[in-house]
């Protein structure tokens, strides 16, 4: 089965480097799957869940992603994101606290700058929580 080489880099580590059969990432207008020999493209990513399958019929690996972008060229995919975390790495308690904090802040009057930051924090917390739920089920 055709595969492509994939590099997933977050700000604190190289998350994955190796072959991959199928990568599904969250784009601003919905999820997008990348298979081998995909057209050259640069894709903006929003925070959300990504999953990848390394071999045909293999296990799907999930991860929570914060915004970044993904670049496809010559059957090589480079994904850059602020953070990439496996579900088991996420601290559910912390994510929940962050969510509560963000919700609390959303109710208060804020400057545009604060609003952006809080909104992004809220979105990140939601994604994290969703991922931890998947892992515990």
């Amino acid at each position: 089965m055709a595969s492509f080489s994939l590099r997933i880099i977050s700000s604190t580590r190289v998350f994955y480097e190796g072959p991959c059969r199928c990568l599904i990432v969250p784009a601003p207008d919905g999820e997008k799957a990348i298979l081998a020999h995909h057209e050259e493209m640069i894709l903006a990513l929003r925070e959300g869940e990504m999953r990848m399958q390394i071999e045909e019929g293999g296990e799907w690996l999930y991860a929570a992603l914060s915004p970044g972008f993904c670049q496809v060229a010559h059957n090589r995919v480079t994904l850059l994101a602020d953070t990439v975390e496996r579900p088991e790495e996420i601290d559910a308690v912390r994510a929940k606290e962050a969510l509560e904090r963000a919700e609390e802040k959303m109710r208060q009057k804020q400057s545009t700058r604060e609003y952006h930051i809080t909104q992004a924090a809220l979105a990140r917390a939601l994604v994290r929580l969703k991922e931890t739920e998947r892992f515990t089920h």
Partner: protein, 300 residues
């Protein structure tokens, strides 16, 4: 020769200073190790990000974006993010950063708005009466991504409203463990690389920007700026610790050398004092003896 007591008090004071510099050396070397780990972890991201942006700028389609350089545009106000340290005693680290910032201010004829990270930098500029952006009280310690996000929001807000038309970052980059280099990078606007003349029969690779070119560029620039600021913070923090470690090690070595010399001086002085005392006692005794002998002779 200086008095014994004076030498002794100098030795004592140098010993005390040495204790401090030695402790600071040890602290900065452990901090340095942590900073080095963080740096090693973030370096792939930092460099891939820069090469990815360079690639985008090479292949970008004809597209207008507020983040791209426009020809003939007059840029009158520049925002400069200066990353200095919170504390001194780090060799020439702070000096180099501030010198470059000062040079920047002197060389440009445009208005400059300064955003300073690190207490020492703020003190430097306020001491010189150079206005800096207030409410920008970020510390250089423990660089985190959320701090980079806040800095990005502050800078981009000004950039998007047109208050500043250029964003520069002055920071210190770790070249290797021995060498760090102060650098001035312009992060916005992005410069399109000049279209090179390609023969007509060569396949011109073209990127699809999704979901739409504008939105893709917006989002990419957002992560680029955050990533760059975070990377610059980590690099600077690591350089600072490295500079402090080297400076404190040198100070400790100098103290050792001084102590060695002073010890020799002290021993000499002590020896001289003893010799002098013996001489005095001997000559005193001899004088006494002569006196008693003379007295005896008189009696006889």
């Amino acid at each position: 020769m200086a008095g014994l007591r004076e030498i002794q008090s100098r030795i004592k004071s140098i010993q005390d200073t040495r204790k401090i510099t030695n402790a600071m050396y040890m602290i900065s070397s452990t901090k340095m190790r942590k900073a080095r780990e963080a740096l090693a972890a973030t370096e792939p991201f930092f460099y891939t990000l820069q090469s990815a942006i360079a690639r985008v700028m090479r292949h970008v389609p004809e597209l207008e974006s507020p983040y791209f350089e426009k020809e003939g545009e007059v840029r009158s106000r520049i925002g400069v993010l200066v990353i200095a340290g919170d504390k001194g005693l780090a060799g020439s680290y702070n000096h180099n950063v501030l010198k470059m910032a000062q040079q920047f201010l002197d060389d440009t004829d445009k208005e400059v708005e300064l955003f300073v990270v690190g207490e020492l930098g703020r003190q430097y500029f306020s001491g010189r009466g150079i206005p800096i952006e207030e409410n920008f009280q970020y510390t250089a310690q423990h660089p985190t991504f959320s701090r980079a996000r806040w800095i990005r929001e502050t800078l981009l807000e000004k950039y998007q409203s047109g208050e500043i038309q250029e964003i520069h970052v002055i920071y210190t980059r770790m070249e290797n463990s021995l060498l760090s280099e102060t650098e001035d990078s312009m992060i916005l606007p992005l410069r399109k690389s000049l279209p090179t003349q390609v023969p007509a029969n060569v396949y011109q690779e073209d990127f699809l920007l999704q979901p739409s070119p504008e939105e893709a560029i917006d989002r990419i620039v957002l992560s680029y700026v955050t990533g760059f600021i975070y990377g610059a913070l980590v690099e600077s923090f690591c350089s600072e610790q490295n500079a402090r470690m080297v400076a404190m090690e040198a100070a400790t070595n100098n103290a050792d050398e001084l102590l060695h010399n002073l010890n020799i001086m002290y021993n000499r002085a002590r020896q001289a004092a003893i010799t002098q005392e013996i001489t005095e006692v001997c000559s005193g005794a001899r004088a006494q003896k002569q006196k008693t002998n003379q007295a005896k002779e008189m009696q006889v």
